[in-house]
Amino acid sequence: MQATLDQAIKLGLREEEFEAIKKVLGRTPNFTETAMYSVMWSEHCSYKNSIKWLKTLPRDGERLLVKAGEENAGLVDIGDGMGCVFKIESHNHPSAIEPFQGAATGVGGIHRDIFTMGARPIASLNSLRFGKLENPKTKHLLKGVVKGIGHYGNCFGVPTVGGEIYFEDCYQTNPLVNAMSVGIVKAGDTVSATSYGEGNPVFIVGAATGKDGIGGASFASADISENSAEQLPSVQVGDPFEEKKLLEACLEAIQTRSIIGMQDMGAAGITCSTSEMSAKGEHGMIIHLDKVPTRQANMKAWEMLLSESQERMLVVIKKGEEQGIIDIFTKWDIHCVQIGEVTKEPILKFYMHDELVAEVPAESMVLGGGAPVYEREYTRPAYFDKIEAFDSASIPVPSDLLGVAKQLANLPSIASKRWVYEQYDSMVGIGTTNTNAPSDASVIRLHNTEKALAATTDCNSRYVFADPYKGGMIAVSEAARNLVCSGATPVAITNCLNFGNPYNPEVYYQFVYALKGMSDACLKHGTPVTGGNVSFYNQSEDGPVYPTPTIGMLGVLDSINDKMTLDFKTTDSLIYMLGTHKDDIHCSDYLHHICGVTHSPAPSIDLEEEFAVQQKVLSLIKNKLILSAHDVADGGLFITLLESAMPNGIGFAIQTSDAIRKDAYLFGEAQSRVVVSVAKEHQAAFEAHCAAIAFDLLGTTTASGAIEIDAASWGAVADWKNNYDSVIENQLAS
């Protein structure tokens, strides 16, 4: 039965896309085929509105072992015959509707992208955005998302080692849940998402297929609204125990060398995995859908093709070597069923009880093949006028700076995330070195080697809103700074580009310029883009969210002994700031949350200075001239000092400068600054070493745990810490 234009539009296709499908097939598609194209050509799978600009990102580097977009995740060489596979992905819309399952399956999905390539996940991070914490809906979402991430990750057995959370009004209806996974693989043990070799059997392994998540990719490609809860069947349900078994079985199966290719089933399930693998291997497949293990009887062909049931993989095996693979999956009590075979003709043919239900050229479905590519218009957002009109002189310097500092430390975006991270198993795998030695990025040791990996996620979206170009640049630079302050050399990034509706030219302007800023910063820091994910349509009746290009950056420490920590170590050591004090309160938490200014320019950044400061930090660590390093970020210099003081209860006494505004000095968020502490006996060597860059002696650490600013007492570290640790739990309880 031929599909109608009306049906195609209801499935999310545009009229010209329906015409294009007819042209590809030389006939009008049936309903099943139309449904398949609708998910494969959705924004989520096809990147049709973003790919033009994604290709402008720097994607080359000597450590990259696969090009961005070529496989399920990026693969970089970390030396000693080891590779690191890592990626970040969004699960925003499912989490908005059903926070527990939405976040849980987001975690499950990103881990599958890693182990489908043969790597064992060793760390996960997540980057979360919510509305104001005092809103009851936010409390519900936060509790659900955190429980979901914990539920999946804790059972799956991969430590959640880091991340970030911000609370801003713009995310009230449309929160962001971005999950990142980092895995390691021995050279030669990787598997590609490909399919070739006529007659080779095609297997489905893992969980049975049900009706959950049907059309999830299309759901992710539409604006979210209060009615979205009616789309609940679009949200998938996760089973971390099944995935844990799937992980072990897949890694064991790869060792047999009998596997041609493997791909996890995420968005668009069987449709996406069969078409992407076949397109890559330039072959086709015959698939018998009636052989797919199902959770419920009488599932229709299109439901099976579109189901996004979790914990499944498509595996193509060398003909004649099936039994070894079947034995491994049987050992782990996992379904492993042949559902078809590879054909020479590059066409996908799907049968249900010997009836042909769909027949499409594999290549016509996929990104880089027949999927549409659009150029979108973009125009300078009108709100920029309001940003440019801001004048710092309109904000008087407050007389009660201590009061401002206390308010800042009370902001849930700045305060301790203890309530969150204690619900995650952060230590399983016994690789997490940060538990007893905190640093700006998470540092994970690699067993039986000297090496360690460092990972971080960063994006201050307020800066990107204020200036997409600078904001994109800052997101990358801050990520690199966090790695460097931990002693790691930045290597590569993955990104999760969360934006509003791309058909809005002002939103698209944000997208284009954020990517330009990211590109320039990636080139400067030598961190190419290995892949990631684009999430458009993050907007509600209230308008788009802040443009949020979350950066997940990977770094390498050749020796774990190079690790640097953020905490003050001894009393009476010297506190320096590398970089330059600026008379800049732009876009700071202070200006935004305390003064209530929603529109101001992004804080200042100079890429050359940024890079010089970072190189200096690395060489100071190598030369063992500093005791701690912590970058100046959200909340400004005072919050940075406080964060270095709290772990060991060591106080600090500093002098501000009369040359710039006191509020800018203490709370400004100008970039490219790092606070370090130095033993007194190293003062001369330290200062000589830093001669080429700007630095400033701020003061010293104190014996009593007291904080002193310009000789005035600002209280005791222990009191600040008690408050800082419990801000979020207190707000949740109120």
Binding site: G157, K331, Q423, M427, G429, T435
Partner: protein
């Protein structure tokens, strides 16, 4: 003397235990699959470890299904012959479910999963862990959603009277306080042993505190106590 570490399909601290025993304590370790049922290579001088994780997904009660595995039947027989058996976290839950240790582990009183460093202390007694630790306060991480030890009054009284409580949650100075109890366990109980003092279970993870790279080696003494 050697260790055997049982691998259930949902174990996720099995390799951590292997690393701690092999890399940090230079012990011999054999990994054991839950579907197998051969413990003939082990003598009662050896120690069988049930590691942490989510043995069979734990969608029923933690450890409730694991007790029925072929390997657990052998472990029960091994323990009854006097062999050393040690369960950590989910392993402790399995030991209680299988009747090798008294009591149960209930959902934490705050109803959330909790992962953090805690302090525990041993109060002496005539078991091998007490003799090795000698009433020192140790910093050991916990990571569990169902770690609240509970038993009826008579069982608790007999555990206390026979010095079968091997660890209690305490503060850094060794004071047993309500605030230092991460899950609401009765009498701050973090770990116990059986009456014949050859089966041990505890919620905190000593294998997570055995490496210099992690800046905490307080867990070594606990594993060492089982190796001799």
């Amino acid at each position: 003397m050697k260790f055997g570490v049982i691998v259930f399909p949902g174990s996720n601290c099995d390799r951590d235990m292997l690393h701690a025993l092999q890399d940090d304590l230079q012990q011999e370790v054999i990994m054991l699959w839950h579907k197998d049922s051969d413990l003939s290579m082990f003598t009662t001088d050896d120690c069988i470890i049930l590691p942490g994780g989510f043995s069979y997904g734990d969608y029923l009660r933690c450890g409730a299904l694991a007790r029925f595995s072929p390997m657990m039947e052998q472990v029960i027989a091994f323990a009854n012959r006097g062999g050393k058996v040690f369960g950590v976290c989910n392993g402790f839950q399995i030991l209680c479910e299988s009747g090798l240790l008294p009591g149960v582990l209930l959902q934490n009183d705050h109803q959330k999963f909790v992962c953090k460093n805690v302090y525990i202390k041993n109060e002496g007694g005539d078991n091998r862990i007490a003799q090795k630790i000698a009433q020192k306060t140790l910093k050991i991480p916990v990571a569990h959603g169902e770690g609240r030890y509970f038993a009826d009054d008579a069982t608790i009284a007999s555990l206390e009277a026979n010095h079968q409580v091997i660890f209690r949650y305490c503060d850094e100075q060794g004071n047993v306080t309500k605030e230092s109890n991460p899950n609401g366990a009765i009498n701050n109980i973090a770990g116990i042993c059986n009456s014949t003092k050859n089966v041990f279970g505890m919620m905190p993870h000593p294998e997570r505190a055995c490496s210099d790279a992690l800046h905490n080696i307080d867990g070594r003494a606990i594993l060492q106590a089982l190796s001799n």
